[in-house]
Subunit: 342 residues, 2 copies
C-alpha cells in the first residue's frame, strides 16, 4: 500500500480505537491483510468516477479498502457541496470502510452535515425470516455544534452489532432476548448463536417491538449503498472474512457505501444553526432523568468522552489483538514499537 | 382555503386513508379546523423561499398546513434534482403534514428517490429520561422499482405510534411491554398511559434492546426538520391539538419538515437501477420464512395491498369519525354525500 493510502487507512482505524469502537480499529488489520492475500482487496486502487452531476457522483473503488475509498468519496461530496449546496457519492466495488462516524465527521469539519452508510456481509434476517439477508448496515448522521462536540448518530441497524456478541462470548455470559434467533428461528440467549448458524435481529427485535422498522432501515442502507452504486446487495454482499468465498452469481461489484455532505449555510446562517444545536444539546441534557445518576446523553457524547480519555491515557489493546499484531509484524518483517500490552 | 390548496390537502388525507393509515386521513380534518379556529393555521399561506442554492432551499410555510407546504417544497426539490441531480428543502413555520409516504412518493413518480421527514409535538422520552422531549418523528425513504411497487420505508422513530395505543384503548386491551413508560418512568402496559402523563419509548425500547438508537434517529429527524429550517425543536414543537397552547419561549417558527429528491440517473442508468430493485424484491420475497404462512414482506408492501383493496371496495370509516365529519359539515353548512358509515 502506498504511503498516502496507508496513512489514510491508519487514520480511520485509529479514530475507531480512540472513540472506543475497539472492534473496528487495529483489531481489523490482520483481516485486511488476509483479504489482500486472498486477492480480494487492492491496496493501490485506481478509483474512477463512473457518472456525475453537479451534486452527485458514482465512484468505482477498484476493489480498494473502504478505509481509502470512502474518505476519497467524501472529499468529492464536500467539493460538490461547496459548489451547489450538497454533494452525494455512491461507491461500488469497495471493501470494509471502518467506522461510519469517521467519514461523516470529515464533512462536519467543513461546517457541513455529514452522512455515511455502508452495507456489510449478511448476518441479519428480515422480519418473519431466519435467513441471513442483510448486514448490520450502519447509518451515520453528524451535525456541527457551536461550543459543544458535534451530534453524531452512528448506529448499526441491527439491535446488537456482532462485537457485542463477541464480548458476551469472552465473558461466557448469555445475551439478552431480542438480539438473535437460532437457525430454527427460535429466540436464543446463546452468545455463540451466530457460529451455530443463527441470525441477528434488526433494530426493534420482534414484531411487537417493531423489528420491521429496523429491517426497513437496513434495507434503506443496502439500497443507497449498493443498488444506487452498482455494488452487491442483500445476501450477495461478499464476506469480510477471507476464508469465506463470495457467492458466484453476483449482481454487482464488491461492497457498497454511500456518503453525503450538506453545507449548513446552503439552508441558513451557520452560526444561527450552531447556536440552535447548542440550545438543543443544553435542553436535552436537562431532560428529567429516570434515575438521577443516569443523565440523558447526547448522540455521540460517549465516544467523544472516550476519545478525550484515550488521547490522554493511551488506547488499551487486548492480548489477542496484541498477539495478532506481533505475528503480523514478524511475518511482514516490520518492527513493532516497544510498548507493552494493557 | 382556496380550491387549489383544498384539493392538495384532500389528496394527502385520502392517500392516508387509501393506504390504511386511518389515523392520518379524514379523521384529522376536525383537528385542522380547530387549529384554524384557534388562529394557529393559515389556510391560504404566502409561502416564501428564505434562502437557496442550486440543490437546496429553505421555505417559510407562513403557518400553512404541511398538507400544502410539503407538496410545494417537494416540487421545488424535484425541480432542483432535475437541474443538478438532487434537491433538498427544509421547511419552517408549518403545521402537521399528514403521511410522510405521500410526499416521498411524489419524487418516485419522477424516477427519483424520495425522502420526507417531520418533527411532531413531544410524546417520546430520550433514553434515561421520563420527560416528553421528541415527537414520534417519522422518516420516509421511497425508491422506484421496475415491475413492482416502489419500496417505501416509512416509520415513526418511536417503537409504537400513538395510533396503536388508541386502538388498544378502544379494544380495552393492555399494550405490550416496551411501548411506553408511566410518568414515574416505570414500564407500563396501560393503554391510557399517555393520558396519565406517561411517555412513548423510542424505537428499540429499553437499554438492552438499543432504545438509544431510536432516540438518535428521532434526534436526526428533529434536527433536519427544525434546526436546519429554523422551526421549533424538541419540547418546543407546538401541539397538534388546539386545546393545548404552544410554549411561550419558542426558539423557532411552527413545526418543521424536511424533504429531498434524488434523480436515479444522476447516479446510474435508471433502468439498471430498477432492474436491480426488482431483483432485490424477488430475492427478499424468497428469504426462508420462520413460519411458512408468514412470508417476508417488502417495506411498503402492506400499504400498497391495502390501497388496491380500498380503491376497489371503498374506505371504511368508523362511527366516531363519521359523526365528527357530520358535525363539521353541519357547522360549516356543507352537505355530505349520501353514504352510510361502515
Amino acid at each position: 500500500m502506498n504511503e498516502t493510502n496507508a496513512i489514510q487507512a491508519a487514520e480511520v482505524l485509529i479514530a475507531a480505537d480512540l472513540r472506543g469502537i475497539d472492534s473496528h480499529g487495529v483489531a481489523r488489520l490482520t483481516g485486511y491483510v488476509r483479504l489482500k492475500e486472498a486477492g480480494r482487496a487492492n491496496m493501490n486502487p485506481q478509483m474512477k468516477i463512473l457518472h456525475q452531476t453537479p451534486s452527485t457522483a458514482t465512484l468505482d473503488a477498484d476493489e480498494g479498502l473502504g478505509l481509502v475509498s470512502a474518505p476519497y468519496a467524501m472529499q468529492i461530496a464536500i467539493e460538490k457541496a461547496n459548489e451547489v449546496g450538497t454533494g452525494w457519492v455512491a461507491i461500488q466495488n469497495s471493501n470494509h470502510f471502518g467506522i461510519a462516524a469517521y467519514h461523516a465527521l470529515q464533512a462536519v469539519k467543513n461546517d457541513m452535515i455529514g452522512i455515511a452508510m455502508t452495507n456489510a456481509s449478511p448476518l441479519v434476517a428480515p422480519t418473519n425470516s431466519k435467513e441471513r439477508m442483510l448486514g448490520t448496515n450502519p447509518m451515520c448522521y453528524a451535525f456541527p455544534a457551536g461550543k459543544y462536540n458535534p451530534i453524531v448518530a452512528d448506529l448499526a441497524t441491527s439491535t446488537a452489532a456482532n462485537g457485542k456478541l463477541e464480548i458476551a462470548q469472552r465473558m461466557n455470559k448469555p445475551i439478552p432476548e431480542g438480539w438473535a434467533l437460532d437457525k430454527q428461528g427460535n429466540s436464543s440467549t446463546n452468545p455463540n448463536v451466530l457460529k451455530d448458524g443463527g441470525i441477528l435481529l434488526p433494530l426493534g427485535s420482534g414484531a411487537t417491538q417493531a423489528g420491521h422498522k429496523g429491517y426497513a432501515l437496513s434495507a434503506v442502507v443496502d439500497i443507497f449503498s449498493a443498488v444506487l452504486s452498482g455494488a452487491n446487495y442483500g445476501p450477495w454482499v461478499p464476506p469480510f472474512v477471507a476464508f469465506l468465498n463470495p457467492l458466484s452469481d453476483l449482481p454487482g461489484k464488491g461492497i457498497g457505501h454511500f456518503v453525503g455532505a450538506m453545507r449548513i449555510d446552503a439552508f441558513r446562517d451557520k452560526n444561527e444553526f450552531k447556536a440552535n444545536i447548542d440550545s438543543w444539546i443544553d435542553r436535552f441534557k436537562r431532560a428529567t432523568p429516570i434515575e438521577n445518576n443516569q443523565p440523558v446523553l447526547i448522540p455521540g457524547e460517549p465516544e467523544f468522552e472516550q476519545e478525550q480519555m484515550r488521547k490522554k491515557n493511551g488506547i488499551p489493546i487486548n492480548d489477542e489483538v496484541w498477539n495478532d499484531l506481533n505475528e503480523l509484524a514478524n511475518k511482514l518483517n516490520i518492527e513493532l514499537p516497544k510498548v507493552s500490552a494493557n
